[in-house]
Every structure is written in C-alpha cells, then in structure tokens.
Symmetry: C2
C-alpha cells in the first residue's frame, strides 16, 4: 500500500498475538465490545456483516453515558490478513450522510502479517484532504488507536487462557 504522509495516518506495531486472534478480535462483535474504544469510553453495541458492502456499526458510550453511533461498510476482506472499511459509505455501499462522531470521513485498512513474535499490525487511516488528516491526528489518532490496540492484545490474551471472554 502506498502511504501519503499528508493524507494518511499510520499506526504500526509488532504485537504478541497470532494473526488469527487479531482477525477474530476485529471481526466478531462480542470481541469488539471488549477492546474497540479506549477506556473510559466503551463500545456498547456492534453489528458486523463481514462481506464487501456489509455493514460495520458500533455505538460508543462516553463516560457521561452519551451514545455515539458510527456506521460504515466493509470494502475488502482477506481473512487473517487484511480488513478495509470506510464510514464514507453505509450498508450496501450507499453514500453516507455526514453524521458520524468525526467531522470527516475516513477509510481504514488493517494489515495483519505473521511475525516471529506474533503479528506485525498496521492500521492506516486514509483521508480526503490534508486538513481532515491533520484534524484526525490532533484528535489523538495515534494515542487512541494505540490504546485500543493495547486493550485488544490484553483482552484476547486473557480470553485465550480462559480468564475472560
């Protein structure tokens, strides 16, 4: 994938979790609810229709108890390797209204590559213009997605050994 530093944000990390468990964490609603939103926010609902054009819907709850729904759709699915989705489209590829919790649309690519220590994990957020990209960065993309990834690894590792799930 070609990255454009003016338009794209990237989080890359090697994590101690198999590609298959990273994939499960990203594609099963029950898993998503455990890690997707950096605490003290939480994810209280999730709908996944895992096909190109299928819906990807989450509801994030703020610490004050306010719910923020996000609707998007999947674009590309390569099991255990690559997941692409966007909030610029809704279910069945319908153009989205600008009603998400962010003031811009973005397309996310999650790359999952086998690595000696587990998985090389790369999350890429693509934006329409430099201004949206900068806003997303200033809103804390790296910290937020990094913290969510920590939660993903912690939760899936615990689930794997039977302490959670």
């Amino acid at each position: 994938m070609k990255i454009d530093p003016k338009l794209d944000l990237v989080l890359e990390r090697v994590i101690d979790l198999s590609p298959e468990l990273v994939w499960a964490a990203w594609t099963e609603p029950e898993h998503i609810k455990h890690w997707f939103t950096p605490r003290p926010w939480s994810t209280v609902d999730c709908e996944i229709d895992l096909r190109p054009g299928g819906i990807f819907r989450t509801v994030m709850r703020s610490p004050d108890g306010e719910d923020h729904p996000n609707v998007g759709c999947f674009l590309e699915i390569v099991p255990n390797r690559k997941l692409v989705f966007t909030d610029a489209l809704e279910a069945n590829f319908r153009p989205a209204r600008q009603e998400s919790s962010l003031p811009f649309h973005f397309t996310a690519t999650i790359l999952i590559e086998p690595h000696g220590k587990g998985t090389k994990y790369t999350a890429i957020a693509m934006h329409a213009d430099p201004d949206s990209c900068k806003k997303h960065e200033e809103m804390g993309f790296h910290e937020g997605w990094g913290k969510a990834l920590d939660q993903l690894v912690g939760y899936m590792n615990a689930a794997r050994v039977g302490h959670a799930g």
Copy 2:
C-alpha cells in the same frame, strides 16, 4: 437488491445487445468515450482500473468546450453481470472530496442479465438522503442515463458489424 424509492433511482430496460457486449461497453475506456455522455456533451477521457478499489475516471466536455472531470472507484465486479462504483470514494477507497460535477455523491449499480432479446439492463443510483435523490431525478437522471444507454446500444451494434469502433 433492495430498492428504496425515496433514496434510489432506477432505469430498467431490455436491450438488443448481449451481456458480454454491454459489459465491454462499460469496462473498456475506448468504448466509454463513444457513448457515456448524452450528446451534445462528450466524454473526452476515461481511465478504468477494473478491480475493487480501482479508479474510474471520466472527463465530460460540455458543448461550450468546458471539461468536467469525475473521479470514482469500483466497489464490486462480477464480469458480464454486475458493476458497482461510487464517487464517494476515489482510487484505493480513499474518501472523495466533493468536487464532482454533481452536488452530491452516489453509488451506481449496473445489473446485466441475459434475456431472450439480449439483455435485461438495470441501472440503479443510490443516494445518501431523499433530497439528493430528488435533485438527481430533477437534473434528468432518467433522460440522461436513458439517452446514454441508447448511444451504448447504437454504438456497440455498429461496432459489432464493423461500421465503427
């Protein structure tokens, strides 16, 4: 496909052309230039990267000689049967700026079904909201897409018997 009459516009017609020739007309830039834009407008440039996430770019020229570029991307490709693209995304699924010739984004689905007389052709334009749908209809969706389809059939039939192409 589920049609929502408040959000979607549909042009359905049986045409005297094989599914394979309809598919060729829609997927080869040299063909597109001959029929895609209702005359006296013309299509002076076309770029097609026929894969999900691949670019679909056209340049329409007005009778005054003014060029109007349109950029979109393909979403679903079923050879000889179904083509889905949107201008809500650009190449590689990047969210689009609102810079096309229309004041809204839409997703188009072209359904191509074998029929005794040739092909049952269905073009569906999906919009984000009723207002965009209504605008698109008032701008002459049915007349424009119908006239372009007439041009497609006329051009491809002529090309087939060696009078054009």
